[in-house]
C-alpha cells in the first residue's frame, strides 16, 4: 500500500512539473491577456517557438495585434503590463494622458537565463495612420541590434 501511495505521488508530481514547464508565458499577465484576446474577430495573434524562430536567435515569440481596439481591450493590455511591472528590469515608455503610447520593456531572464522582452505600441497615440495596438512578447538570446537587423524596415 505504501508503494502504491509513493507511486501515486510521483505520478502527480511528474504531471505538475511537466505542466509548469510548458506554461512558458502564461504565468505573466501579458501571456494571459494574449490568450484571452486571441479568439476575438479584430485580432491577429501569432505564436512561434523553437526551431521556427531560431534563425532570429529567439526561442519564443508571441504577439497580438488588434485593429480598431475597443476601450476594454486596451485597458486589459495596459493593466497586464502594469501587473507584470515587478518583472520589468528596464523600460522605455511614452504615455499620452493615462495611456501607454509605446513601451519597450526588458523583463528578468527566465529560468534558462534567456532575455525576455515586451513591446507595446498604440498607433493612434503615436500620430500614425490606422488605429492599431500591438503587444509582443519575446524570449531568446537576441540583442536589439540583432532584432533590428532582422526586422526593421
Amino acid at each position: 500500500m505504501k508503494r502504491i501511495l509513493i507511486l501515486f505521488i510521483l505520478v502527480l508530481g511528474g504531471f505538475v512539473i511537466t505542466q509548469s514547464s510548458w506554461a512558458q508565458d502564461t504565468h505573466l499577465q501579458i501571456g494571459k491577456v494574449i490568450q484571452k484576446l486571441t479568439d476575438e474577430d479584430n485580432t491577429v495573434c501569432v505564436t512561434m517557438k523553437g526551431k521556427k524562430v531560431a534563425q532570429y536567435n529567439l526561442t519564443y515569440f508571441k504577439s497580438i495585434a488588434i485593429e480598431h481596439p475597443n476601450a476594454y481591450q486596451i485597458e486589459r493590455i495596459e493593466q497586464a503590463i502594469r501587473k507584470d511591472a515587478s518583472s520589468i528590469t528596464n523600460r522605455e515608455e511614452r504615455t499620452s494622458g493615462s495611456h501607454i503610447a509605446y513601451g519597450f520593456y526588458c523583463l528578468t531572464p527566465n529560468e534558462k537565463g534567456q532575455n525576455r522582452y515586451v513591446f507595446y505600441t498604440n498607433n493612434s497615440l503615436l500620430g500614425k495612420s490606422g488605429y492599431k495596438v500591438t503587444l509582443i512578447y519575446l524570449e531568446g538570446k537576441a540583442t536589439l541590434t540583432e532584432l533590428k537587423k532582422h526586422f526593421k524596415k
Binding site: M1, I4, L7, F8, V11, G14, F15, T18, Q19, W22, T38, D39, E40, D41, N42, T43, V44, C45, V46, T47, M48, K49, G50, K51, K52, V53, F61, S63, A65, N90, R91, E92, R94, Y102, F104, C106, N115, Y117, F119, T121, N123, L126, K128, T134, I136, K141, T143, L144, T145, L147, K148, H150, F151, K152, K153
Partner: protein, 142 residues
C-alpha cells in the same frame, strides 16, 4: 485440578480468559480428564467459536489482496491517463500558428510573414532618435 478448570470455564463464559488460557482450556477439554458430559456445553461453544474465528481469518487475506489489486489498477490507469493527457496538451502547443480574425493558420510561411510584419511595424514606432539610443542601452544584453 478440575476446580481450576471449572473456574477457567466460568471465566471463559464471562469473556475474561486470555488466549493462552483458552488454549489451555481447549487442551483440557480434548483430554480424557474432560470426558464428563458436564463439559459438553463448553466444548460445543469453544468449537463453534474456533470455527468462526478460522473462517474470519480465511476471509481477511482475500479482502486485502482484492483491495490491493484495485489500488494497483487505479494507479496504472492514472499513469496512462496522465501520459495521454500530457501528450494531448503538449501537441496542442504548436510551434507555429496564427489566429487571424478568429481563423487558425498553420502554414509556416504565412505565419512567419505575420510575425515579420508585426515586428517591423513595432520597431518602426516611437521616437527614433531617442528610441535608438535608449533601447541600445537597455537591450544590448548578452
Amino acid at each position: 485440578m478440575n476446580k481450576y478448570y471449572d473456574n477457567l470455564i466460568e471465566r471463559y463464559f464471562e469473556a475474561e480468559t486470555s488466549e493462552l488460557e483458552e488454549q489451555e482450556l481447549l487442551q483440557f477439554l480434548l483430554s480424557p480428564d474432560a470426558e464428563d458430559e458436564r463439559y459438553d456445553e463448553v466444548r460445543a461453544t469453544m468449537g463453534y467459536a474456533l470455527t468462526a474465528r478460522k473462517r474470519k481469518e480465511a476471509k481477511a487475506p482475500r479482502k486485502a489482496a482484492f483491495s490491493h489489486r484495485w489500488a494497483a489498477a487505479a494507479c496504472i490507469l492514472l499513469v496512462c491517463g496522465t501520459g495521454f493527457l500530457s501528450y494531448h496538451l503538449y501537441s496542442q502547443q504548436e510551434d507555429c500558428v496564427a489566429y487571424v480574425y478568429g481563423e487558425k493558420i498553420t502554414d509556416d510561411e504565412t505565419v512567419k510573414n505575420y510575425m515579420v510584419s508585426t515586428m517591423s511595424e513595432t520597431l518602426a514606432s516611437g521616437d527614433d532618435d531617442i528610441l535608438e539610443q535608449q533601447l541600445q542601452d537597455i537591450f544590448d544584453v548578452k
